[in-house]
Symmetry: D2
């Protein structure tokens, strides 16, 4: 019991080594935020892309009838260090850690009081209480809340900006909702599920273009290891696959043809290193466990929808961490 405490004494709130993101904050406290270490001095900070990603994450970008202003106010990023304003008013990184805070608005602790003694299945309620004991803060699950991903999105967009300078772009998109794979048919299905107070799973696919061949490490630090760990760290993500993934139909003879190098069936990775083709992978998200059926209130019919910008953000953090070390940054310039 006592010794369990030690598990807190690591730093699970830190992501990356060379391009490093430290996350802090709670969904019901002052706010959520982070510290990003590894932005080269002089790098421009693209406020617009950060704002757009935050809107996607908050679900507002899909929602109708909300004024841009309102959105912006809702997830305003407050820069605490590491940036200076250039002559033209734009923000530029100074090379020191970028610390930022996104304050929580209109939190109503009483909304969560009923949770004080509730352990919701599929949530962190029970396991966190087992691990952290009486001080585990029951309102909104503290760190387990989706609110924490706002900080990931800000850090991820900073990384994505560096990647773009290297002509590397990341596209994440919703490719399946339940068994439906036709994007045209997603919205009606989602409305139906929502109306039923139910939830459904989804798949987010990601494609990275512009990566040179030979990026990554062999053995235990293969690029797919980094990506899988990053994706599985997103709440509700239950699986990661690249290349042929879980498709057990094709025979080797259908996938590999002598001299076909780099190999198209490899999803952009061979031997743990990029092969120069677009890198593609997908992540499976479970149906939300917070059901209106069970708890009333609003909930996400499909958490994969709002996970899209988080998948993009985590992908950017992984790639920039690897590239910060391989120094490709400085090649392509």
């Amino acid at each position: 019991m006592k010794c369990k405490k030690t598990t807190e004494s690591t730093s699970p709130n830190r992501f990356g080594t060379h391009f490093c993101f430290t996350s802090f904050g709670e969904s019901h406290g002052i706010g959520v935020g982070g510290v990003v270490d590894g932005m080269p001095a002089g790098t421009p900070v693209d406020i617009v892309s950060i704002r757009t990603a935050l809107e996607e994450r908050s679900g507002r970008r899909q929602a109708a009838g909300t004024s841009p202003r309102a959105r912006v106010e809702d997830d305003e990023v407050e820069w605490l260090s590491g940036v200076i304003q250039a002559e033209d008013g734009s923000l530029v990184a100074t090379g020191t850690p970028l610390a930022f805070l996104i304050r929580n608005h209109h939190q109503r602790p009483e909304d969560y009081d009923w949770l004080r003694d509730t352990n919701r299945p599929g949530h962190a309620d029970y396991t966190y209480r087992t691990k952290y004991g009486r001080y585990y803060d029951y309102r909104g699950g503290g760190r387990a809340s989706a609110r924490e991903t706002a900080a990931r999105v800000v850090a991820g967009e900073l990384a994505a900006g560096l990647l773009l300078q290297q002509h590397i772009s990341i596209e994440a998109r919703l490719t399946q909702v339940g068994l439906e794979t036709d994007p045209e048919r997603f919205d009606p299905l989602l409305r139906e599920i929502q109306a039923a107070g139910d939830s459904i799973g989804g798949i987010v696919s990601c494609t990275i273009t512009g990566l040179p061949a030979g990026i990554g490490e062999p053995l235990f630090d293969k690029i797919q290891c980094r990506l899988a760990a990053a994706m599985l760290s997103i709440n509700g993500c239950k699986g990661f696959a690249y290349g042929t993934g879980f498709d057990m139909r094709p025979r080797g003879s259908e996938l590999y043809h002598a001299g076909e190098v780099p190999c198209p069936a490899s999803g952009g990775i061979e031997g743990g290193l990029t092969n120069g083709l677009p890198l593609t992978f997908c992540c499976a998200f479970k149906p939300a466990a917070t059901l209106t059926q069970l708890y009333g209130g609003r909930h996400d019919a499909c958490i994969a929808v709002r996970a899209v910008p988080v998948v993009r953000a985590m992908t950017a953090l992984v790639l920039q961490d690897i590239l910060s070390m391989t120094n490709t940054t400085h090649h392509d310039q």
Copy 2:
């Protein structure tokens, strides 16, 4: 070009922090081996389980008409440090790093000469050459060879021994070959594929029993992140899934029921921490890219078969690394 070199300058050959395995060796050099740091002084080293796992990995355990003797000779573990012989002749860890070597036998470099200028699709040939240049050793893919997994299996069994002391057991098994899910029908299918000089994919499932609730870390170091990264580091592994994984059929209302805590649909993990139920996950393996059709010689019809002990080994390394830190070891005793 030059800067690419730096990517070598990390330590991708190291796995784990508190229970740490460092791998070395090549398939065509003196041998493969490793250094295991984190075995508490006095821990017995179970030679028999190590031998058994090595036989499974080498494929000999399934093969008929091979004498146990022959097998054993083939992958003899040579202990270089960290163990002493107890009065009863058994091996005991001294608490210092355990270094071991498995010498390669009857390697015939000339077998590989034809590879000197060949880049096989789905192999590390092309990407390694891009990364490492002319010194990349073409014989057997150096570190990319399946031979390297012998060292993982030894280290993994050392970890599994510590886990057993804590009443934690790991069972890995082949659960799908191509589209076939009935184990009774695996052998005929494999023989057919082998005869055709072709290959097929497979799925390895793993079940861990005995884990207390609350093990793992939130956010970026969730237990599923560690497991996914470890599985994706195995050659040919293309996907990882736990709980509902990629199954998009069930609705939330079918999976989660008020008060059903811990939740059976969660695969033993909620909020990134163990929930006390058996932890289950599966890994997808691609069809082998080394086809008799293409290159002649022998090859594996389904690499998932020999991946089973490697999945078990990597799982043990992940869990013991986490538990070394959480110190549960010393509780349960």
Copy 3:
């Protein structure tokens, strides 16, 4: 030139693994702050000891005629996450990362304008410019400023609080100023040096009591390695010594006597591990390089004076990081 950038891409702003402190902020920006990860849920946060340490660091505690109020306002700690207020109004850690900010007051950028083209000998001006280029912020040396140590002091006091719970106390004190070793004579000497617009070196000694025997690691992670690295990270620290240190007079026969175990001459450390006796070490600080003689304005006659609470803070961070792992916390309870 370009590749130099990569050196920024590590995380030199992070200290510790299990009890981890991430530092951010600049002397001339919004403020300095940090994120502390590893405070067990339920740990009380001692605001008074933090305030006291900050006053010592800011030099105000020694200064006459300053009202307590003023001091407090000057280095007010703003908690951004990781703490909740208990019924009695005291602060308690929730187990999630503690983020805090100390805003800068009355910064007058113009004070630093003359530095725009100046490289002061003994400062980071020249080396930072070489490394970071044009974006290196000349006002107050950015991260190199002593201002940054305010964040270390807050984090260190959080660690010191945990150590006290384990009956471990740290005492740091000024034991030498120039060649003077009699504390009674420090003040007149310091006033004389100050009046001359000159500066002088000093030695800070530290004694840790209550550490059990056997704490630390052999080889590369000996407890003295950790302490030396931590002390040398303090601006102006030029040397670290423990036990006999640089004293070359005693012969082995004067220091070691058969059976005298633990050995008093060992400064509390034998073989890299604590031996149960008080752990004592000292740090040498150079004379300040910012001289009124050279630059006018005010300066510290002896930076060792204000380094005392920083030595204490860094010592606490090292010890709690080690103990978070060794789990001694939970023994003594």
Copy 4:
């Protein structure tokens, strides 16, 4: 008691991140060895410099009447992986981990039997037993033995070879024995001390030339932090100092003169980064605690003598680790 065990569960046997050395072996087992990760493919391995350093470490280089042959046999390096033989017979790194073993010769366990129940003051005997319990191997102190430094010397020479390619050279030398600073007078003094069965302290100084300016990191990872930690990890090292170090005589006005940048008084480091001048530091070594007076047998009158190549080796490991990341390697070529 039990929980103490966890402290073993880290990896104190590993040094460096980008150029990484893992040490294994015992003074009384099969041998000592290591795994070096981070040697770029194609780097020549200079066997001669390794042999020379090993001889200095073993004390044989100073001894008269020993044939080169004998020496070589004594510390023969057995390469287990990571090197191939070039056409001209020289060894070349393949870019995979270099594993090596130095077998122990003529070890006579019985020599150590008397130690079974002895705790020598100033040794690891007592503290190791406290930490590791009954399995701590009493013969020669296991990992605490000076024998372990043979592996450091091999790894360090590999690093030194890479540094030379970058025109960076390291010179370590004995500069003080007791109070004697005239090298001419060292030998007579050492003989006298030896004859008396006593021991004496010494100082080893180190000068690094060729380092470009701007190498290192600010704050917690200053280059002096890395060097201090590395030196303090050497058995018997009690202190580290650079620049003015513990010399409290000079006033600031004597050290710093306007415009004198880089500053000669800074020992080659300003603000934690190299300033382009030669980097100089020194380490204090205590008198050996193993006295003939106490235990009979042979002992070192001054362990600083044999520490010289170890200081050089650890310095090389620190610098190459930093440069592997900063990638200067590839610039200067």
